[in-house]
């Protein structure tokens, strides 16, 4: 742990007890945020967060930390806009610095079809309370001077939608902030405890099985990344989730200033500059479902090729490190939250390539659901029943990675 953690963040991990009111499986952003909001908004603190590794070791620490709400379906625009606003207030609420930095986000269009999509995005975002405007190439050049508007002659930049409140935050500080807030109010956060299954009696959940013995709880929330289908299968629950790797890399320090976050849904890559000055690049998910967490050279060569077409200055940079996370992809590229058909067993999953930005709103909604026993209106459309009811929320074009 670095100096910041040792001196500023008071993380006190607990040993597991045998019984809790609520057990949350998965100590990532979503699990810890749910615990934090249960404690702060609803006064429920007899809660355990069980993490297999260390907190934030999974996808909370493996993403590209972009916060945005420029989605394509009203229900998701409203949800992510609420999340974006909770992020804006999180530092004031907790007194912790999460390095929240509003940069503005450009989504580039290279074709007529792309232009139509970005114009439509600006309209639908505006109508649903999120600020997005359509911008012409001269304005794009002003926002991000490094962009080659000719796109190396192959991917001309014809226009973009601009999302001024698009931001980034430091991922591990978000995790620690929520963990600390939950811990100081009495929530048990347990590390290095592997949950191997969900225990049920009839149609009800009664607890979880772990490598340190069973733990009883009338409410179990799966906030697991990657292994959610395996976990829920132990309770007989089928989920519409497939797990794919997602890779990203950073370069060495770029001495210039790269203020905006730039993404191209047609070229499938996005770039931003980290607080250390590195250029952070992410791209599409790998084709095959996998839990291997393996980084590949294929990804580097195809992704850098596309990145250089738009950002030629990056040709002078070196790649420092590369990593892989796993994405729980739902068929319609929208999260899956809420009840599972087993009483007391809740899931928050399907966080694909859009989980980090949803941490505050997802945690708040799941906490409200646990506390009140009712599905909050904001996440009702994300129920797993939408597939049976023919109310899918297809939004592939907003994932940024497909």
């Amino acid at each position: 742990m670095n100096e910041f953690v040792e001196h500023r963040v008071k993380l006190r991990f607990a040993d597991p007890r045998r019984t809790y009111d609520v057990v949350i499986v998965g100590g990532g952003g979503h699990g810890l945020a749910t615990a934090y909001y249960l404690a702060t908004r609803h006064g429920i603190t007899n809660v355990a967060v069980l993490e297999r590794g260390y907190i934030g070791a999974g996808n909370s620490g493996r993403n590209t930390t972009v916060i945005r709400a420029n989605y394509g379906v009203p229900a998701t625009v409203r949800f992510y806009q609420h999340s974006l606003e909770l992020y804006q207030r999180l530092e004031a609420e907790t007194g912790r610095w999460i390095m929240h930095n509003e940069k503005g986000l450009l989504w580039l269009a290279h074709t007529e079809m792309g232009l139509r999509a970005e114009r439509a995005r600006a309209r639908i975002n505006t109508a649903c309370g999120s600020e997005t405007v359509f911008v012409e190439p001269d304005e794009i050049k002003r926002i991000c001077p490094q962009l080659d508007l000719a796109g190396a002659g192959r991917y001309p930049i014809l226009g973009a939608s601009y999302h001024p409140h698009g931001a980034t935050a430091r991922h591990d500080r978000v995790v620690w902030t929520y963990a600390e807030g939950a811990m100081e109010r009495g929530v048990d956060v347990v590390q290095r405890i592997a949950v191997s299954g969900i225990r049920t009696a009839g149609d009800r959940v009664v607890g979880v099985e772990t490598d340190q013995g069973p733990i009883d709880a009338p409410v179990v929330l799966s906030a697991v990344g990657g292994h959610v289908t395996t976990l829920c299968a132990t309770a007989g629950v089928r989920l519409p989730i497939r797990t794919h790797p997602l890779q990203a890399f950073v370069t060495n320090h770029y001495e210039g200033t790269f203020e905006a976050i730039v993404a191209s849904t047609e070229l499938l890559f996005y770039a931003s500059q980290t607080a250390r000055g590195e250029m952070l690049i992410g791209a599409e998910i790998d084709r095959q479902p996998s839990y291997s967490y393996r980084s590949t050279f294929d990804f580097l060569s195809s992704c850098t090729g596309r990145a250089l077409a738009l950002l030629p200055f990056m040709g002078n940079l070196r790649i420092l490190r590369q990593w892989t996370g796993v994405c729980d992809m739902s068929p319609d590229y929208t999260p899956v939250m809420g009840e599972t058909g087993v009483d007391g067993l809740l899931v928050t999953t399907g966080w694909g390539t859009w989980g980090f930005k949803a941490i505050p709103a997802g945690g708040e909604a799941m906490a409200e659901m646990i506390a009140t026993g009712r599905t909050p209106e904001m996440i009702a459309p994300f129920s797993v029943n939408r597939f049976a009811a023919d109310r899918t929320l297809a939004d592939r074009g907003s994932s940024g990675t497909h």
Binding site: P240, R287, P289, S292, R294, D298
Partner: protein, 91 residues
């Protein structure tokens, strides 16, 4: 890096292929509607050895059946290759 040995074209990088899942609908599901729903949307998402289909899009453009370990991405076996067959038969 995942590489697949196409029986026609030899060993190639995964970027040349398109993935095809073989849906596994649980036996316990008997209601036809429920089976259709499960087949269309639900995923087994197995951590372990899976049988799956790959289409050699940038090569011979034929489907093949592959056994792979999703924990390591190790390809265990190229089971068969065929052309013109449906890719959606139950494993």
């Amino acid at each position: 890096m995942l590489r697949l040995a196409c029986p026609n074209c030899g060993e190639r990088s995964v970027v040349e292929f398109r993935y095809g899942e073989i849906p596994i609908v649980p036996e316990e599901l008997t209601d036809p509607e429920a089976r259709d729903l499960d087949r269309a949307f639900m995923r087994s998402n197995i951590e372990g050895i899976v049988t799956e289909r790959w289409f050699h899009e940038a090569g011979c453009r034929r489907w093949m059946t592959v056994r792979r370990d999703t924990r390591t991405d190790e390809v265990l076996e190229i089971v068969s290759q065929s052309s013109g067959q449906r890719s959606d038969r139950t494993a």
